[in-house]
């Protein structure tokens, strides 16, 4: 930066300028398209964010006024979108009961309960139905009418009989006979043409699909004729209705349900709540239940301890094995190092999905290779301690090549003269390793060990694919013996009886805090290592 003055456009070639403006234009266009889609979906937050990004890009890159931000802006935007936003969203969710059965807003839930309660009237007729509009009007705006037909009972008479079908026209006012004059029927008995009406095809009527779905021809006693399909109508009745003043639901047989903690529950306390509930703010309930609910609390503590032990043991074992191999292959006397080194990288190069599943099959007590070859009969995945050992063994296999790589790199950067100096001072090989090589090595790989610890602390993939957190305690099928906090949170959120995403978010936040505190502490430690230099 210092060698050239920050002069404008002096040395900027034309293609760079062109590319710059092209990229600016593309970003703005992209944001415009995004907001257009978001407006359609009614998502104003996205519109705001897209507009903000577009403006920020224009200000920084187009006007040159905020040019000092040019390096930071992309990073800031990505950081906000992909880090800050999920965190903020998780925190917000942690204070709600969001989850299965509580995924709607209250208005949606009220509407859903009523829509689900529409039942056909017992022994009522079913009609053939055509959706129609008054002739000459446009489909988008016209008042809808349902042209209905039903097989006429013996001995019915009237001017609305045609080919054994009784014809009606249903509007929002009610049901009227449809004079049969000039009406033609289609093969399935529905009205195909009627004077004064334009009969819509299924595709045409779909333009008003929502209106058709809500359309009900009122009948006496509160029932209505509603569309069942595009060609059939039924007589139905909403059997559960909402009373806005009292905030209660009343079913047709008189049971009253009151709103309580995100569900409509029976007023008299008898029987189950209505199935569809809504999201509600629950304050600190999720957090307090982690610490007060006895199964959760004991489970949480147990999982937490294993969650500390697992990454420590994993990092330790992989580092020791990786470092020993690195020292071995760093020896100048060894021939064919390139080949060995490439072979050692292989476990690292295979995707964890493949490796973990293969290991899981190898650990099978009866059919697995490990018991077969060793002649043992260990219930690897069924007993707590063997299962933990299995997890560590698999992670050793998966993790040592990484440690081997970074140690090899670090070892090669340690100058030979310090080792020579040590041997001149009379240090043996072990002493040299311990007092010279190791400290220098740890300076280089220390931060990476911390990063590896943090990664293994949340090593979801391995646990999920290898043991799934199993084996479980007999009394509690939520808390597994090899569970990490993150797999535990996943089970609560996704796999438990009724996924409770609010609670899982609360657990995630706690994990976040724990990882944060631990990492901070360890980075402090590794800083101390650096001072060796």
């Amino acid at each position: 930066m210092s060698q050239a003055p920050v002069g404008q456009s002096v040395a900027t070639p034309a293609w760079v300028v062109a590319t710059k403006w092209l990229l600016i234009a593309l970003t703005v266009l992209g944001c415009t398209y995004l907001s257009w889609r978001a407006v359609e979906a009614g998502s104003w937050l996205i519109v705001t964010v897209a507009a903000f990004i577009a403006m920020a890009v224009l200000v920084v890159y187009a006007t040159g006024r905020g040019i000092t931000l040019k390096y930071l802006l992309p990073g800031l935007i990505l950081l906000t979108l992909f880090q800050m936003w999920p965190i903020a969203y998780t925190v917000a969710t942690a204070f709600t009961n969001y989850g299965d059965g509580h995924s709607l807003t209250k208005e949606q839930a009220i509407e859903a309960v009523q829509a689900q309660s529409v039942r056909p009237e017992p022994d009522s007729a079913r009609y053939g139905m055509s959706v129609a509009i008054p002739e000459g009007e446009t489909i988008a705006e016209a008042d809808l009418a349902l042209l209905l037909s039903r097989p006429a009972a013996e001995g019915t008479s009237g001017d609305n009989l045609l080919e054994g079908q009784e014809l009606f026209v249903g509007t929002l006012e009610g049901l009227e006979p449809l004079p049969a004059d000039g009406v033609t029927l289609r093969g399935n008995g529905t009205v195909g043409e009627a004077p004064g009406f334009q009969v819509l095809t299924l595709v045409e009527a779909n333009e008003r699909a929502q209106d058709v779905a809500e359309f009900a021809v009122p009948l006496e006693g509160g029932a209505g004729i509603k569309a069942a399909t595009g060609t059939q109508a039924f007589v139905g009745r909403t059997t559960t209705t909402y009373d806005a003043a009292a905030d209660t639901m009343t079913t047709i047989d008189g049971t009253v349900y009151v709103a309580h903690e995100g569900n409509f529950v029976p007023q008299d306390g008898q029987g189950p709540p209505l199935p569809t509930g809504w999201t509600e703010n629950v304050g600190f309930d999720n957090f307090s239940s982690i610490f007060t609910d006895s199964t959760l609390r004991s489970g949480f503590l147990k999982i937490f301890l294993w969650n500390l032990a697992f990454p420590l043991l994993s990092v330790g074992s992989t580092f020791i094995l990786g470092m020993l191999l690195a020292l071995l292959f760093n020896d100048p006397r060894l021939k064919g190092k390139g080949l060995y080194r490439s072979l050692l990288i292989l476990p690292y190069a295979l995707p964890i999905f493949v490796t973990a599943i293969v290991w899981s099959a190898m650990f099978n007590q009866d059919f697995g290779m490990i018991n077969d070859v060793t002649g043992l009969n260990i219930n690897w995945l069924g007993d707590p301690w063997p299962a933990r050992a299995a997890v560590l063994i698999t992670n050793l296999w998966l993790g040592f090549p990484y440690m081997f790589l970074i140690c090899t790199g670090a070892l090669q950067s340690i100058p030979n003269d310090v080792k020579e100096a040590a041997s001149v001072d009379g240090a043996g090989p072990i002493r040299t390793l311990w007092s010279v090589t190791m400290p220098l090595l740890l300076v280089a790989v220390g931060p990476l060990l911390v990063a590896s610890f943090a990664f293994n602390f949340n090593n979801f993939g391995l646990i999920y694919l290898l043991t799934g957190g199993r084996p479980f305690e007999a009394t509690n099928s939520q808390v597994g013996n090899t569970d990490l906090l993150i797999t535990f949170a996943y089970r609560l959120a996704m796999e438990s009886g009724s996924p409770n995403i609010g609670l899982a978010s609360a657990v995630s936040i706690i994990i976040f805090l724990i990882v944060g505190v631990l990492s901070y502490g360890m980075f402090r430690q590794s800083k101390a290592l650096e001072e060796v230099n």
């Binding site: 992309p74 299924l202 069942a228």
Partner: protein, 460 residues
């Protein structure tokens, strides 16, 4: 330390395109190359993944928009153009349903788009996508999803005509009914049955006891290695073990007089269910059941001739036929003391999305075209599950003797509960079945499972 963070941040940022166009000529900033080297290892594979997974809770929300299937249907095909019907199905059934929609298109002029969604993700993605107001008009799925789908209001009621409903096997309509409302149109009914390698075991065992004796004899003679092949696994499998658990009573929930299960209480520790659980213990003791048998090895073991008997469903038949096994299908045998094994029935059905923008078109398709022999037989040919429409079932019985055998095996079975409470049962009960087969005391272990399920049910 600060230097490293700064270097990594710089490296990440310089990688971004826009910076190249900031009006500066290429700088020789010394931190850039150094940062580039450091960055290449740690954050790329460690830190990056770790942070991603920290937000597991976010994954559902993201899937609704970004999941493999959801992406396209969130756009025009599912919505607003008003001329297209979008159906989600897994790969096998998508291939089957696509040609079967031609009649519908010819009759109505409505184009049908069939989209493949991975089977194990379909339920979740449908729930999430529709919850976001996107998703398909129609999805093919299992009936036991129903309670959960209704809870989240993602499926619309299907006001099926009574005379159409009567054309189905009664259990299949019962299976898609929730709190008195029908929510889907079924196309197949399946259950577990005893599949026998007729070369190794020519005789149908009259009882479970006889099956075990036969199986043991075959193992002793060295013809096979396993008495019986049946899925269980370390985590247990309540579906697979239900035929035994329900041999003496309804098993999990008490039956309601009007049909269906009473989800407000569970009866895992009832004397009848414990009697069934003791049979599990016995089958585990004699080695007929084992927690080391799971989805990954049951069918292969049977095909390799390592077991003469297997308890499985219609989905296994394709692999068995490919393996060239001479097989026969019979009901799971009863116990000699009068316990009648009774499998769960599973029903596959067409659901209509509650957020469909083409509700009448979707309803027309599921109510007027799915209950036709053309579609029901066509779907049977894809996944060999016996049709739910009686007429279609009769038609395929004539071509395929297996279908009658499956129907016999399903007799007396009850549809798997579709109430959402069932979700609280699968885990604890499954785990209990694994422990009992591994030697835990049946009565005691069912008691703890009951306590856990009761707590989960009571807590809601």
């Amino acid at each position: 330390m600060k230097r490293t963070t700064g270097a990594i941040a710089m490296a990440g940022i310089t990688a971004l395109l826009l910076t190249a166009c900031g009006g500066d000529t290429e700088s020789d900033d010394p931190t850039t190359p150094a940062g580039g080297e450091e960055e290449s290892e740690a954050p790329a594979d460690d830190a990056g993944e770790a942070t991603d997974e920290g937000e597991a809770a976010e994954e559902t929300a993201a899937e609704g928009e970004g999941g493999d299937g959801a992406e396209e249907t969130a756009g025009p095909p599912a919505a607003s153009d008003g001329t297209s019907l979008v159906i989600w199905a897994d790969d096998l059934r998508a291939a089957a349903i696509e040609p079967l929609t031609e009649t519908f298109t010819a009759d109505t002029g409505v184009e049908v788009t069939v989209q493949i969604v991975a089977q194990e993700k379909l339920r979740e993605q449908f729930k999430d996508a529709v919850g976001q107001g996107a998703g398909p008009d129609v999805t093919i799925g299992a009936h036991d999803w129903l309670g959960e789908l209704v809870q989240n209001n993602v499926v619309a009621p299907v006001q099926i005509a009574p005379e159409v409903a009567e054309q189905f096997v009664p259990e299949s309509i019962e299976a898609v009914t929730f709190e008195g409302q029908v929510y889907a149109v079924p196309y197949s009914v399946e259950s577990l049955a005893l599949i026998r390698n007729a070369d190794l075991a020519p005789e149908v065992p009259a009882s479970m006891e006889e099956l075990v004796t036969d199986g043991e004899a075959l193992v002793e003679a060295g013809d096979t290695e396993l008495v019986l092949a049946q899925e269980l696994g370390k985590e247990g499998n309540a579906y697979s073990m239900y035929p035994y658990l329900a041999a003496y009573g309804p098993g999990i929930f008490p039956l309601l007089e009007e049909g269906g299960f009473d989800g407000s209480q569970s009866i895992l520790d009832s004397p009848e269910t414990i009697q069934g659980a003791e049979k599990l213990a016995w089958l585990g003791e004699v080695g007929a059941l084992s927690t080391n048998q799971d989805a990954s090895n049951v069918i292969p073991n049977f095909i390799d001739g390592k077991a003469a008997y297997m308890v499985s469903g219609p989905w296994a038949i394709d692999q068995i036929t490919e393996g060239g096994i001479n097989y026969a299908i019979d009901p799971i045998p009863d116990f000699e003391d009068g316990g009648e094994t009774s499998p769960f029935l599973g029903v596959q059905a067409f659901y209509v999305s509650a957020e469909s923008l083409n509700p009448q078109i979707a309803q027309t398709f599921v109510q007027e075209y799915v209950p036709t022999e053309e579609i029901q037989v066509g779907m049977f040919e894809a996944d060999r599950r016996p049709p739910a429409l009686s007429a279609a079932a009769e038609q395929v019985q004539a071509q395929d003797p297996d279908v009658e055998a499956w129907a016999t095996a399903a007799e007396g079975g009850l549809p798997m509960p579709n109430i959402p409470q069932m979700n609280a049962v699968w885990g604890p009960l499954g785990k209990a079945t694994a422990d009992i087969v591994d030697g835990a005391d049946a009565a005691e272990r069912m008691g703890t499972a009951q306590t856990e399920v009761a707590a989960a049910l009571g807590g809601k």
